[in-house]
């Protein structure tokens, strides 16, 4: 495709997004809570869209479609297992929200630090998130690099997409913090959903005569793709290894769990979570059907994560439709990256810097948080430039690392006996084992790094907590307050 068309459409998207970001500044107050949480006053509709856009990244139309292309229907089970994990947000959402309002928490790390009465818990949580979320942000940047490169037939080099996505994420996060992120996310969520549905319907009806035609073709020509383990990629061990970290995604990923602080009421949180599961179900189906369509229309690709860019660059897809999908995927990536940047910057400023220097002013904390945004972006961009391995596998490795925060999060809300030492060592040991297994490629007994890392993390949290002294007074006060609040709100 002519690269000037691509650049024109990207320019329109950039202008629209930047205008939306600037408009979101109206009525904006001052302070850290305003900048990082939009003053905990986000309505249900915008909250649902920003939650969706933050959760769903370029991984869906690029990585998940690639998984489907390579491994078949197991990709559907994998992503829907993640979606069912949203039941955790039903349990944890009201707890985060109530605790955030009472104690003024800005980040999930701050919550853990206060609950376990140790600034080191907050600092270690932040470090784990920084280490594992930077690769996650990097794969989004890589997705854009591949996409623009594939669509333009190589006329736009990989680095053009990489730099474009980085700059957009920085600017849209910088302008008004969570306000600009939430509003641009909302715009992008709508673009993602509408464009992907439109183009899928076009492909299905134009080339298969309807969904029935696609299904019959799959049953006839690719029957293995409709079963697991099917072509082999989704063995049961691979399925467990992939789904385990993703099931806990909504509480392990701070850019998502931080959104549990932002609804203006529990009713707004209900609309946020309810809206998200509907969005997620549709978007998952669209991405998987896109992967199946790609398999039928363009079989024999060497790399699964190039399936979407390759299909879009084929003459069978009208240029305008390819451009529309491109904007949808670009939006999916940027909306995830800027949310990650904002969350990590809030954690860096509040849980690392302020944790070590408690007397620092709120103004200084905010200023530092803003400057951390471009700094983290540059690190992610360099990581993306290195092009390490299959895009989907990298993304999953990040989730596996963040899984190591889960026992400490469960303990904070459900186990009075949990201690700071248990939380810290569980994250360090689990994170180290996961990282080592991932980078060495070793899989004991054939199980994936998340399984072993998660097991060691859980055992370490329980054993070390039992060997050390818990902050019982804080635990009683914290859990007592939540129990009362949950009863009033009729939440489980």
């Amino acid at each position: 495709m002519n690269s000037s068309y691509i650049l024109l459409v990207v320019a329109i998207y950039v202008a629209l997004g930047t205008w939306t970001a600037y408009m979101s500044r109206r009525g904006m107050g001052a302070g850290v809570t305003e900048y990082f949480l939009a003053n905990r006053a986000v309505g249900g509709f915008v909250a649902a869209l920003t939650y969706s856009a933050t959760t769903y990244s370029a991984f869906m139309m690029v990585g998940l479609a690639g998984f489907t292309y390579k491994g078949g229907v197991g990709a559907l089970g994998f992503e829907l297992t993640y979606l069912s994990g949203l039941v955790l947000a039903v349990f944890f959402g009201p707890r985060f929200w109530l605790a955030g309002k009472r104690y003024g928490y800005v980040s999930p790390a701050e919550l853990l630090g206060d609950r376990y009465q140790s600034q080191w818990v907050a600092a270690v949580t932040t470090l784990v998130c920084l280490i594992f979320l930077i690769p996650y942000a990097a794969v989004q940047l890589m997705g854009i690099g591949y996409l623009l490169g594939g669509l333009s037939g190589g006329a736009l080099p990989f680095w053009v997409g990489l730099i474009l996505a980085t700059v957009l994420a920085i600017v849209w996060a910088w302008i008004a913090g969570l306000r600009s992120v939430a509003w641009t996310d909302s715009l992008q969520a709508l673009i993602m959903l509408v464009t992907s549905i439109l183009v899928l319907l076009f492909v299905i009806y134009r080339y298969f005569g309807g969904f029935g035609g696609l299904f019959v073709t799959l049953e006839t020509d690719y029957p293995q793709w409709l079963t697991v383990p099917g072509p082999g990629f989704f063995s049961l061990k691979a399925y467990i290894g992939l789904t385990l970290p993703w099931f806990f995604f909504c509480i392990s990923n701070p850019q998502v769990s931080q959104r549990l602080f932002i609804p203006k009421s529990l009713g707004a949180m209900r609309r946020m979570l309810g809206g998200f599961v509907i969005f997620g179900f549709i978007y998952t189906l669209v991405s998987v059907l896109w992967g199946f369509s790609t398999k039928v229309l363009s079989p024999g690709l060497a790399r699964a994560d190039l399936a979407t860019p390759t299909l879009l660059s084929q003459p069978i897809i009208p240029a305008i439709l390819a451009l529309i999908v491109m904007v949808g995927i670009l939006g999916a990536a940027v909306s995830t990256i800027d949310s990650i940047l904002l969350t990590l910057s809030s954690m860096f400023a509040r849980d690392l810097y302020k944790g070590l220097r408690p007397r620092v002013s709120e103004e200084m904390e905010l200023r530092l948080g803003k400057w951390v945004i471009p700094a983290i972006s540059l690190v992610a961009m360099i990581f993306g430039w290195l092009k390490l391995g299959l895009i989907s596998a990298l993304s999953v490795a990040a989730s596996a690392g963040l899984l190591m925060t889960v026992p400490a999060i469960f303990g904070a809300f459900f186990w009075k006996r949990g201690t700071a030492a248990g939380a810290i060592w569980s994250m360090l040991l689990g994170g180290t084992v996961t990282g080592f297994l991932y980078f060495s490629g070793i899989r004991p007994l054939g199980h994936w790094p998340a399984v072993w890392g998660g097991l060691i993390c859980l055992v370490a949290f329980i054993v070390i907590s039992l060997m050390t002294t818990p902050p019982l007074e804080k635990a009683e006060e914290f859990l007592g307050y939540l129990a009362k609040g949950l009863k009033e709100k009729n939440a489980l």
Binding site: E219, E488, A491
Partner: protein, 60 residues
């Protein structure tokens, strides 16, 4: 409240057990759209409906 909580945990535990077992056993030989594809859609819709019921009960 605690009894209800455990009831829902058990219910989601059953759903997840089916999620990991049925497609790899009973449905592993069914290379049709009404096999694992349909199952995982029904699994997700059941989970979403259950989440919806829990959200509906919240008081604002």
């Amino acid at each position: 409240m605690r009894g209800k909580r455990w009831g829902w945990i058990l219910w989601f535990g059953i759903l997840l057990f089916l999620d990991y077992t049925l497609p790899y056993t009973v449905l592993s030989g069914v290379s049709k759209i009404y096999g694992a594809f349909l199952f995982w859609n029904l699994f997700a819709l059941t989970a979403i409906a259950s989440i919806g019921i829990l959200l509906w009960k919240w008081r604002d």
